[in-house]
């Protein structure tokens, strides 16, 4: 197996010289996120666990049997890092692999949608079953802020930060 050992060592050495996916990751600043829905949506509060089940695609329908449409901050935007760290508990690479696997396993048809805060508010206000993560600074009267684990953004112990 000496030739094979040399081959294996060569591969390992070549691997070390390649640029890695890890070094390609883009860092975005953390901001406080609000969970927003349409003002007339029948949801006022949610536990962080239930929020994660929704955003992980494990819960796909509302109690009214409407498909939940997930909207997350775009890659590179403010809020993306908070969403990945607090809600998904994944790195960007893991997040993409997670959704590819989820679609491959036929558990979901597609993953979350991306939007700027302004676009997310418009979509939430007009789309049944839509729920979005947007920076707290972008919240206005066109959307309703959902209480997470009994706390609103700005309160002590609010977790989406």
């Amino acid at each position: 197996m000496s030739a094979r050992t040399i081959l294996a060592a060569g591969v390992v050495a070549a691997l070390a010289l390649l640029p890695s996916a890890a070094t390609q990751a883009q860092e975005t600043p953390d901001v406080v996120l609000a969970v927003v829905v349409a003002p007339d949506a029948p949801i006022d509060s949610v536990s962080l666990g239930d929020l994660r089940r929704m955003f992980l695609g494990d819960r796909q329908y509302t109690t009214q049997r409407t498909r939940i449409t997930l909207i997350v901050p775009s890659p590179g935007s403010s809020g993306r890092a908070t969403a990945l760290r607090v809600v998904y508990r994944m790195r960007e690479v893991e997040y993409r692999q997670y959704w590819v696997a989820k679609i491959f396993r036929a558990e979901v048809i597609s993953g979350p949608r991306i939007a700027t805060a302004e676009e997310a508010k418009r979509q939430v206000a007009t789309t049944r079953g839509a729920i979005a993560l947007i920076p707290v600074s972008a919240v206005d009267r066109t959307v309703k802020v959902v209480v997470v684990n009994g706390r609103r953004p700005g309160q002590t112990g609010y977790e989406l930060r």
Partner: protein, 361 residues
């Protein structure tokens, strides 16, 4: 059985008017491919190998109605073998109940549904022996009807599935694609739990029953039970699976129980080395020669293996894996193999923009 089928069709028809009210043109196409270099003491050709090309389509045809399809092209000695791996039409009544019909990866155990043709998704180069490509230990494919759903609270999710369909074909590595070979349908059922914390932990159990028809001799009743533990958060990754299958030849013939399992450990390195993921796996398949279904087919089903490898994700959509395997495929000798694989997915998955068509106004 006919009553069950009739009830399912009726339920889908009743749901159809609601589906006509909204438009959901929403489709995702994902491909997987791999390329390998192999040097081995096993009696298989060395050298470079085209792996498998898999194309996967999922589309929402109407609200709550989705289609999933998967086609593969696999390199063989005489060309490429094309196969419809999955073709599933599913109607979601809610999270609690989703009904579907089609050709599935049989939902027994973990690996068979979690990775299957997605080489890039799995940490190692190949599947474990018990679910290997063209393998016979597990009934890898299932053609029929499936009910599934989930309930949950907080981070906890409990999922179930139950199905009925055609069992193994005369070639027991294949499902009954063009009809069952005997009047006794196969059934499958399973339950799994994800506690939410720690993240990406799943524990489950499943069972499968069928009557397999042999080319010669009486049919064989098959009863399989299995369990798995899968913690795929990468730091660490632990996947363990075990299955026990009892085969009883009808008409007072022999009875035997065969067993198979594996444990795979991996760890995504921290910090600047996070593209690297060393892994190791131990696996075994025990098939007694008296097994009336598996024992007569091939002695290589009695199998042991240890392997160690290194996965390097040099891009977010591609991985290079180098793996050393030491296997005892049936005989008394341990045989060594080194295999290097490039696997990738395409196109790079990207979330749809929320302003694009597909969101219901």
């Amino acid at each position: 059985m006919r009553s069950l089928l009739g009830a399912g069709v009726l339920a889908l028809l009743l749901a159809a008017p609601a589906a006509a009210q909204e438009r959901h043109p929403n489709a995702q196409i994902i491909g997987f491919a791999d390329f390998n270099f192999l040097t081995t003491e096993r009696p298989v050709p060395d050298g470079f190998r085209s792996g498998q090309f898999a194309g996967h389509l999922s589309a929402e045809l109407a609200p709550r109605l989705g289609v999933f399809a998967e086609l593969t092209a696999t390199a063989t000695a005489t060309g490429f073998n094309l196969e419809v791996e999955r073709s599933i039409l599913r109607y979601d009544f809610s999270d609690y109940l989703k009904l579907s019909a089609g050709r599935y990866h049989t939902p027994v155990g973990y690996w068979n549904t979690a990775f299957h043709h997605g080489q890039w998704l799995q940490t190692s180069v190949n599947r474990p022996e018990m679910v290997k490509f063209g393998g016979q230990f597990l009934p890898v494919h299932f053609v029929g009807l499936l009910a599934e759903g989930s309930v949950g609270s907080g981070g906890l999710s409990v999922r179930y599935h139950a199905g009925i369909g055609n069992g193994r074909g005369l070639n027991i590595a294949r499902g009954g694609d063009a009809g069952d070979v005997n009047p006794q349908r196969a059934w499958v059922a399973g339950l799994s739990v994800s506690p939410g914390t720690p993240r990406q932990l799943q524990i489950g159990a499943s069972a499968y029953g069928d009557r397999a028809t042999l080319a010669v001799g009486n049919p064989v009743d098959e009863r399989l039970v299995g369990a798995f533990f899968a913690w795929t958060a990468e730091r660490p990754e632990i996947i363990a699976e075990y299955a026990s299958v009892r085969h009883t030849q009808t008409g007072g013939g022999p009875r035997a129980t065969s067993k198979a399992g594996y444990v795979q450990l991996a760890y995504r390195l921290p910090g600047g080395a996070s593209a690297w993921k060393p892994y190791a796996r131990y696996e075994r398949v025990d098939v007694p020669p008296t097994d009336p279904l598996l024992g007569a087919i091939t002695p290589t089903l009695d199998y042991r293996a240890v392997l160690a490898g290194l996965r390097f994700d040099f891009a977010s959509v591609a991985a290079l894996k180098a793996e050393y395997r030491r296997e005892k495929p049936g005989g008394p000798n341990w045989l060594d193999t080194i295999i290097i694989q490039v696997s990738f997915t395409f196109p790079r998955w990207q979330e749809e923009h929320a302003s694009s068509e597909g969101v219901t106004p």
